[in-house]
């Protein structure tokens, strides 16, 4: 009777573990929204500070504590107050104690212990990869569909990988299962069968022996029957015998790609222009990661001469002097011939420049691209980071007319990058 009453007190135990995850997501969104400016700034900093390959990660965001404060009325230092503390060791009434450090007026009793006001630290938190990409794309004015395509993980393919002890019926591996069943039957029935053999021998002997008592034969026969029945009761196929073909999901193996980043590092390419170029390269890289398992990036910078450099040097160095674009194209051809000659390399090239080229060089560039490069690359994209059209732009315009895998675009702000990609995606879909 008592038991029933207790249970009535306990209305129920509810397992909430599977429901209502991420209840705070709406609050988090509001929090991020409120600090959008700081986040955007941090994302911008991260883009210029990170390598192209590392772009696809979360980021630490720092928000100054004062921007987060929720002010309420409270007492400040000053006036007279009395506080009770535990743990008296030596004081008696009337003792005078030096005011603890902490400055003008007084510490507010209990908190005066902390040496530097702990509330003053900046608030640092992490945004996830998705959130980071969202802010990255926000600047680029990419349509939503494209964003999701870019952040998507590559396609998966399932592959056989040995055997597993559970799975769906259509994956049952019959031979393995039967073999297992047989092994089990042998193992479990071994002792019984041995005993059975002994008994049968004794029975045969008893039958041969004329002095055998009839009831001994009867006992033996009965025992044998029991054993046989027990053996027959061993299941022919038990659920534990079943083996299933195991499948694991693996990223779809796709072919390899190499991305050439060509950039003009003459004096006129300032930080802002380089930043635009970098964003463009990043976007191309992200695009390629969606399609290719393995991507190599080759950085070629040039002024009057071209050289292959590391990523850091590529974005940070700055040299003055004239500009000969064809030097970079030639170097690219050399590298292609030396390292990426085989047909399983998909070559992409992206060139960023302010369009300022040595007068006689531009026709040569056009020729190089038309005759030698375009036939070997999947796609060649040229972005010019300034508005005026100079001879290189004019020459390139002539290429664009005749070739589908060549795109060019003037990009003045990061938002202009997208049209180039629209081209690119259109073509990718058609292929």
């Amino acid at each position: 009777m008592g038991e029933r009453r207790e249970r009535a007190m306990l209305q129920q135990i509810i397992d909430r573990r599977l429901s209502g995850k991420n209840k705070s997501i709406g609050n988090r969104e509001r929090f991020l929204r409120r600090h959008r400016d700081q986040i955007r700034e941090a994302v911008g900093r991260a883009i210029s500070g990170r390598g192209i390959r590392d772009i696809d990660q979360g980021e630490n965001i720092t928000v100054p504590r004062r921007d987060l404060s929720e002010p309420v009325f409270g007492h400040g230092p000053g006036g007279t107050r009395e506080m009770v503390h535990p743990g008296n060791k030596e004081y008696v009434r009337g003792d005078r104690i030096e005011r603890p450090q902490g400055g003008n007026g007084s510490g507010s009793g209990n908190s005066s212990a902390s040496p530097d006001g702990e509330g003053e630290d900046d608030f640092v938190f992490q945004i996830s990869r998705e959130e980071f990409m969202q802010y990255f794309f926000e600047d680029l004015a990419l349509p939503r569909l494209l964003r999701t395509q870019l952040t998507e993980v590559p396609e998966w393919k399932s592959r056989r990988a040995g055997f597993a002890s559970d799975g769906t019926p259509n994956n049952i591996h019959v031979v393995r299962s039967m073999r297992g069943a047989m092994a089990r039957r042998i193992a479990l029935g071994g002792a019984l069968r041995q005993r059975l053999r002994e008994l049968e021998e004794r029975l045969a002997q008893a039958k041969r022996d004329p002095y055998t008592l009839p009831n001994e034969i009867a006992t033996l026969t009965a025992d044998i029957d029991t054993l046989k029945r027990r053996l027959a009761r061993l299941p022919y196929l038990d659920p534990i015998d079943l083996r299933y073909r195991n499948r694991v999901r693996e990223p779809q193996p796709t072919s390899k790609a190499v991305m050439f980043c060509l950039m003009d590092v003459s004096g006129s390419m300032d930080e802002a222009r380089k930043d635009i170029a970098k964003r463009f390269f990043i976007l191309l890289y992200l695009f390629l990661t969606k399609h290719y398992e393995r991507i190599e990036i080759v950085f070629v910078r040039h002024h009057t001469q071209a050289s292959e450099v590391g990523e850091r040097e590529f974005f940070e160095s700055r040299e003055s002097g004239g500009t000969v674009v064809s030097s970079a194209l030639e170097l690219m051809l050399e590298i292609m011939a030396a390292r990426y000659a085989t047909s399983d390399w998909n070559v992409y090239a992206a060139q960023a420049s302010d369009g300022d080229n040595w007068q006689q060089d531009s026709p040569k560039c056009r020729e190089l691209i038309e005759t030698r490069i375009l036939s070997r690359v999947r796609y060649y994209a040229y972005v010019q980071v300034v508005e005026e059209e100079q001879n290189l732009w004019q020459e390139y315009s002539r290429i664009a007319k005749g070739h589908t895998n060549f795109a060019m675009q003037k990009i003045a702000t990061p938002a202009d990058i997208y049209p180039v990609f629209r081209e690119l995606f259109k073509k990718e879909a058609a292929l």
């Binding site: 397992d15 609050n27 007492h75 009770v84 004081y91 009793g109």
Partner: protein, 508 residues
């Protein structure tokens, strides 16, 4: 049946470290049976198993199962998550909601021992406190709070849709700044049901607006009456509930804005008793988990291993570092509350001569009834003022320090000796008086005939000034009020010691 029970009592409950639903039920039954021996009266109990992440969710929305959306909860969540991931803090091992049925969360990661501890602490300790304590009975309505929060969440989401997230957020920010001043301290709250609330809302909106319009009506005045009217104060009496005053009288708020002010005010009111009974509430819950589990151990229901794990955790909870120690950060409410209830029991059961002098009414009485009475009819301030015994002051080695701005040194005003007991007890009791802890700020006057400015008045105690955040808070008041707002800080002699002022930009 009873025979079967007796037999089971002789052998301990199974005690693996992993919990299971069956075990939780079994332990709960044992706890419930033990609690009934001590006449603990509780709301029905609903135990919910949640993950660490859900615990953080609950943490972030001030422990409530639902709440409206606001960035500050997001900030709280991120901060909690960060320190949890770094291992800086274990999550509080319990969150319990003052609702009917009383919801107690059990975290998935806990061992069976911890789950038992939480059930005893939260589902029996806190739960009986919620149901019994006069402040909770007076101010909160356990049966409707969850429904009300669901309503608040939906209403605010609706407002966000209609008026934009930014607008709602700004309003909530301002309301939160005044949340501690959204409480009726002395008047008894009314408790209409949710259905009534909803039905009334529409009427109220219309009526309120009408009333506000009335107050601010600018009729041509007759010359003769002017002086008389000018002298009529508004409000007639100073008002302590700033949010209520804003809700009813702010000239420019839209009806939906008034409703949101009201929601924040209601939530503040709900938490008001908790802010005043921290020591008692935690002390009561800790006392009962300790008493219940020890009784069960004495009955042979719990194993030694169980008790060791439990006691270790219990000891951590009631640890009180001494002043001056590195990890000292004030009095630990768990430690003080637990010690006081335990001491009260001791005074009832084994009073000394001193106890008989100090507590003639309770020394030697039935401890269960005495503790029950203390739980029901006191708050921290009065509980300490009434029941803190000399023995406990000696045990904690308490001492009081006076910090007077005008003197170069601090003075020890009382210690745990015959001369100091009463003084210490008064000082500590004051320390828990919410009116003493928080600045006393009230609505002083409104210039109804002039520029509509609102004047708030801070009445100082012992010359304690406001901190510099006041200016920021005042901006929020300005946003709600819509016109100039003035805050005067008046010292003990009645002189205005400091004055703040904000003039919000005109509303579109």
């Amino acid at each position: 049946m009873s025979a079967a029970l007796a037999i089971r009592d002789e052998q301990p409950l199974p005690c693996p470290s992993d919990w299971s639903f069956e075990l939780i039920e079994e332990y709960h039954d044992a706890i419930a049976r033990t609690a009934r021996r001590f006449k603990l009266d509780t709301y029905p109990i609903q135990l919910e198993i949640i993950t660490a992440e859900q615990m953080m969710d609950a943490y972030a929305s001030v422990g409530m199962p639902v709440n409206y959306r606001h960035w500050s909860f997001g900030k709280q969540f991120i901060a909690t998550e960060k320190s949890y991931r770094r291992g800086h803090m274990g999550l509080a091992y319990e969150i319990v909601i003052n609702s009917d049925p009383c919801i107690a969360y059990l975290m998935e990661e806990n061992t069976m021992t911890m789950q038992t501890l939480v059930i005893a602490h939260a589902a029996y300790g806190h739960n009986s406190f919620f149901k019994g304590n006069y402040l909770f009975r007076m101010w909160t309505d356990a049966s409707s709070i969850v429904d009300y929060l669901v309503y608040a969440k939906n209403y605010i989401a609706e407002c966000e849709e209609k008026h934009g997230i930014d607008e709602v957020e700004a309003l909530l920010d301002s309301c939160h700044a005044l949340m501690n001043y959204g409480v009726d301290r002395y008047r008894r709250a009314q408790k209409p049901s949710l259905a009534q609330e909803k039905a009334r809302r529409k009427d109220r909106e219309a009526y309120l607006q009408h009333q506000v319009n009335d107050l601010w009506r600018t009729l041509p005045r007759r010359a003769g009456k002017q002086t008389e009217e000018a002298q009529k104060r508004f409000p007639a009496e100073p008002q302590e509930n700033l949010l209520y005053f804003v809700e009813k009288n702010a000239p420019l708020l839209e009806p939906w804005e008034r409703e949101i002010v009201r929601i924040v005010r209601k939530v503040a009111q709900y938490f008001y008793p908790q802010r005043q009974t921290q020591v008692m509430n935690e002390g009561w819950a800790t006392f009962w988990h300790y008493t219940l589990l020890n009784t069960m151990y004495a009955d042979g229901l719990l194993t030694d291993g169980f008790m060791l794990e439990f006691l270790q955790s219990h000891t951590n909870v009631v640890y009180q570092p001494a002043a001056g120690q590195r990890n000292y950060s004030g009095i630990n409410p768990y430690a003080l509350g637990f010690a006081m209830f335990s001491d009260l029991r001791r005074i009832c059961e084994a009073p000394t001569e001193e106890d008989r002098r100090w507590f003639p009414d309770i020394a030697g009485t039935d401890w269960v009834a005495t503790l029950d009475n203390a739980m029901r009819n006191f708050k921290d301030e009065s509980f300490i003022g009434q029941f803190l015994s000399p023995r406990l002051m000696r045990h904690f080695r308490m001492f009081a320090i006076r910090d007077d701005e005008d003197e170069s040194e601090l003075e020890v005003t009382a210690i745990h000796d015959d001369n100091g007991y009463r003084c210490l007890r008064e000082a500590l009791s004051r320390q828990y008086d919410i009116n003493h802890r928080e600045p006393n700020i009230q609505v002083w006057s409104v210039d109804t005939r002039g520029d509509r400015s609102l004047t708030l008045r801070h009445t100082q105690h012992s010359y304690r000034p406001l901190h510099d955040g006041a200016q920021e808070v005042l901006k929020h008041v300005g946003r709600l009020w819509g016109f100039r707002v003035i805050l005067e800080s008046v010292d003990d002699e009645g002189d205005v010691a400091r004055r703040w002022e904000v003039s919000p930009p005109p509303r579109h």
